[in-house]
Subunit: 336 residues, 2 copies
């Protein structure tokens, strides 16, 4: 059955049912929800300070229809927004989903997509409360995510890095780039590694819990890595008006990545995007405390130093300086 067979109204009815089946009405998001899907706008009672972010996945830019797994699409569209709320130290609350679909899309594809979004939303106590469905020749899934923060003084921002602070990241870097490489080039790697890389690319885990730990321990400066470590670090450096020194040997490269891409692993960790790990700065002691409580690796990779943002220093294991590439993903620019 295609969406053109049932039309927008019936499709919305189906999605609405899917989003309401067995919801946990005791979550703060649901408890504060006054008016859900079905009117001109959704209405809720806000808590603390309000955070808002938007991010979308677009056919032929972020994915291709021929290899599309709809559940992965739904998962990732929400995950990358959860990652943005995490990077601010916030608690996610409400998602608003705007989906554009070709009329010949299977209804089951759309429900696969929403089921995956719903599962991830449930995991982080986020309610999907509004949205819009449109026909289009291109698939486009845009999610707006609202979150809350108790106190604006505890937000994680990009402009609070200070010389002397250490720079750290959660998890491993470069695995998503390996996942993309396998997708584009069908690179042969052992099954176990393939699973790790694909999971990183298709199903990144938003670091909501780790970000809350950052807030609790007093970190103030954070960004999530979507465009690549080097490119995203530059956002922090520019907004904080500082420079940084990164020790390449310290980059957390997963053993599988080192095994499968021995010559490229470090490069992928530095410039590959879409890992959706947290990149943050804090005094060494604070990072130790975070690391001790975190269920995932937290790795110090360098430090903030005085200087111009564009003078990022990369040093290899022998202390030799390397020239950084300008190599993060940027929309509209032709790849060099």
């Amino acid at each position: 059955m295609k969406v053109s067979d049932i039309g927008e109204c019936q499709l919305i009815d189906q999605l609405n049912k899917l989003l309401h089946q067995g919801t946990d009405e005791t979550t703060p998001a649901r408890q504060n929800l006054i008016l859900d899907i079905g009117d001109d706008a959704a209405v809720f009672r806000p808590q603390g300070y309000q955070l808002v972010t938007v991010d979308s996945l677009i056919e032929n830019v972020h994915f291709n229809r021929s290899m599309l797994n709809w559940a992965d699409l739904g998962y990732k569209a929400l995950a990358i927004n959860l990652s943005d709320i995490a990077a601010m130290g916030g608690v996610p609350q409400y998602a608003i989903v705007n989906i554009d679909l070709p009329p010949d899309t299977l209804v089951s594809s759309v429900t696969d997509c929403y089921n995956a979004m719903r599962s991830l939303a449930d995991k982080y106590q986020t309610a999907i409360i509004a949205g819009d469905t449109n026909q289009s020749s291109l698939i486009n899934l845009a999610v707006t995510l609202l979150g809350s923060a108790e106190n604006p003084d505890k937000l994680l921002t990009r402009n609070t890095a200070l010389p002397g602070q250490k720079i750290a990241v959660t998890g491993y870097l470069g695995n998503a780039a390996a996942g993309l490489d396998m997708l584009l080039n069908q690179t042969k790697v052992p099954d176990e590694s393939r699973e790790i890389f694909c999971r990183s690319f298709y199903r990144p885990e938003p670091r909501i819990n780790e970000a809350r730990l950052l807030v609790k321990e007093g970190a103030r400066c954070c960004i999530d890595i979507s465009d690549g470590l080097a490119a995203d670090l530059l956002h922090i450096l520019r907004q904080s008006r500082v420079s940084a020194r990164i020790e390449l040997e310290r980059l957390p490269v997963h053993p599988s990545l080192r095994l499968c891409y021995p010559l490229q692993a470090q490069h992928m960790a530095l410039y590959g995007g879409e890992d959706y790990e947290l990149l943050f700065t804090a005094p060494a002691k604070v990072i130790e405390q975070i690391s001790a409580q975190s269920g995932i690796p937290v790795t110090i990779i360098g430090e903030i130093i005085p200087g111009k943002p564009d003078e990022l220093k990369l040093v290899d294991k022998d202390g030799r300086a390397l020239q950084p590439e300008k190599n993060g993903w940027e929309h509209f620019k032709k790849p060099k």
Copy 2:
């Protein structure tokens, strides 16, 4: 200059400047803004209850590139969202803009689009605080709009129509359908009429002020007319579990529409979409009070009666019943 010549980062810098030049920092939205464009999320101090809605304009569905006026596109994308907040009786506060652009788009086209959004946002004291720019082969402009309401008991919803209440609309109906007809079929009409129709289609005025009047005078049930009077009335009837009787002779048809489309004017008023007028129900006395204070026409067109939602009664000037068509715009469905 094309957006591919400057890339995403420079484009965002330019748009950011445009959105901040000469902003009125004394508006409630700006006063409560903690963190603007430039971090992983925007942050604000919420006021009262929070409303949220999203709506988008998509190439080849809502407009065609060959006839695209970018300023009109920007205006309309925001206006249709303001209209949704109006239909809830809310005060608009913050807009989040998600724009997808082909790389060969002129930078000046994008700034035209944002300048028009900015003007309309300023008119209704709305701050554009976040967004996302993506490359895509199709132009797509999605706006998420946040608004506030003092009291959930004063919201305008779709499920509060009661038998005995009158049904009223603001402004004129069918003019936007005439604007679309001229666009698609180059229909010849006098210049003055053309201007009225095109303005209705390209530059609908969101009925924010009129909606506030509805709230003040105690109306409770409202929707904005985006899919056509008949289709949008059906939303109210279904959610309120009532029926309605509409007197066709009472539909507010502009003299220009009657003149240029003598045989179709009534049909366009009933089934044409995109007028973005308010359709609401209230006791006759309340509507009189609203009408007396409104700067635009407020017209009673029928009344709510007990019955099944799908048994909408249309009567002509001689009291004869007419069969309603199922004729509102619905995504994915092939036009009959």
